[in-house]
Amino acid sequence: MKPKKARKKFSYYMANVGITGLVLFAILPLFWTFYVSLREEVSITRYPTMLTTKNLSFLAYTHIWRDTNFPVLIRNSLIVSSMTVLLSLVLGTAAGYALSRAKFKGRQGVLLSYLVIRLIPGVLLLVPIYIMMYKFHLLDTYFGLTFAYTTFTLPATIWLMKGFFDSLPPDLENAARVDGCSRLGAMWRISLPLVLPGLAATGTLTAITAWNDVLFAIMLTSSNKARTWPVGLREMIGEFQLPWQLLTATAIMSLLPVVIGFALVGRKMVAGITAGSLKE
């Protein structure tokens, strides 16, 4: 009995080491980046591995906030992300609800198209979308980016919302309808409040997708009118000398909204993604 107990203890110990390793692997690079953003440029390149608390400051942050156009880009990103969330949620909730409740013909087709869309290389759509936006005069506008992002987030939104609606017992709505609620009223007053956490998670996921995108942002914007922050960060990169302190500070600033959103609804989001995809 004794060696078995010892082995169990050993494997528990090993699991702890493994888990600590995984967590460090995930967050140490982010912490190091944050630390570097507080250091002076000279010391970053001259003593790359030095750990010190001397001369640390938020100077890079105040510099970026005051003297560059980065706040404008952040504002653009916030606007585009919010518009994308709004549009995706309105359309996605309606479609997800319909798919969850109604049993109409071609239902399978709609669900299948979700998977097919994932197969299509984004680059293949980039060119025609660029030409379309050009024709509709939507290049370099909030709406142009919003439409492009919604296209890519909508399938996932529909899929997730359908999953959340599926998990509600249909009797709940039936009871409300017996009590004299209309179909729409039952959805609005009974089901929607119940899927609110799901709605928040889906919205956050959509927001992060729009916030993080680089490819469409590079292509569909050409001035500060609608340009988003990833494009701005990319343009900070010079040919030879990289301004590490500014780069890292900008990166950390842009990461902040993602971390906050993730901290609030991360668990629900993660659960929704896997549950939705596994029902195949």
Partner: protein, 274 residues
């Protein structure tokens, strides 16, 4: 909306692949049949990109799935703070690609990169050019960065699969005298096989389709040593403004992925019947 923004562009994209459309020559396209495709196979850069894409996808899938499986096994048992731990481990997957790319470009930088410097201190040196300047190493650098950013995706899927297995299963196999490894090999692995299949497919699609990481990390360099197909298409379209050629590359990628997916699903179903 999906029809307007996905299926119409898809149709236009495939159509463009059969035309000569160069923005520098005006907005018109002329139908030229398969000429773009013919040119592709005579284009040495395309062949290089094809090879790189294959290497990237093969190594990427293997490394990410193995680490994802290991991590999922570790994180599947309930313990203190497990919810927080899971969220932290998944964070890299949601980190903006721009941040991921520049962060790692920095940490693996020859002069200022902490990892390179620490490795130098223990005697592992990457020489003057470091990782990003070495045509043989750069793609493995990119693979490492993508491992960091993308393995949580596999971890999540596999974790969900493991959690679907009834908890008392391990008890009954241990009564029968099965070791932990035997339990994993003969009970867990067959049960999570469908999850591995689905996540593998989605993972490969992601690895092949997305030019974002390479665009930001190496931009294909040094030389063409990390040029992958979607990045080549992106370059043709928005630096060379040759929309026809770019579409032809993308259509080939789409055809390859669709073909792969079909064979893969057929194969996966076939395995299930044994």
């Amino acid at each position: 909306m999906i029809a307007l923004f996905i299926f119409y562009p898809l149709y236009r994209g495939v159509f463009l692949a059969f035309t000569r459309t160069k923005l520098l020559e005006g907005p018109d396209s002329t139908l030229i049949g398969f000429e773009n495709f013919k040119n592709l196979f005579a284009d040495p850069t395309f062949i290089t990109a094809l090879k790189n894409t294959f290497v990237f996808a093969a190594f990427g899938l293997t490394s990410q799935m193995l680490l994802g499986l290991g991590a999922a096994m570790l994180l599947s048992k309930e313990r203190k703070y497990i919810g927080l731990i899971r969220v932290l481990v998944v964070l890299p997957w949601f980190t903006p690609p721009v941040v991921t790319a520049y962060m790692w470009r920095f940490m693996l930088d020859t002069n200022a990169g902490i990892i390179i410097q620490l490795l130098k201190d223990v005697g592992i040196s990457f020489g003057e050019v470091g990782i990003w300047g070495n045509p043989h190493l750069a793609i493995f650098g990119a693979l490492f960065v993508d491992l960091w950013a993308s393995y949580p995706f596999f971890m999540l899927f596999i974790l969900a699969g493991i959690q679907g297995i009834p908890k008392d299963m391990r008890e009954s196999t241990s009564v029968d005298g099965a070791s932990a490894f035997q339990h994993f090999r003969f009970v867990v692995l067959p049960l999570i096989k469908p999850v591995l299949i689905v996540s593998g497919l989605l993972g490969v699609i992601h690895l092949i389709n997305s030019p974002t990481l390479m665009l930001l990390l190496t931009n294909g360099g040094p030389g063409d040593s990390t040029l992958v197909l979607p990045l080549y298409a992106f370059r043709q379209a928005f630096q060379g403004y040759d929309f026809g050629y770019a579409s032809a590359i993308s259509v080939l990628v789409l055809a390859a992925i669709a073909g792969f997916a079909m064979v893969y699903i057929r194969f996966a179903k076939f395995g299930k019947e044994d």
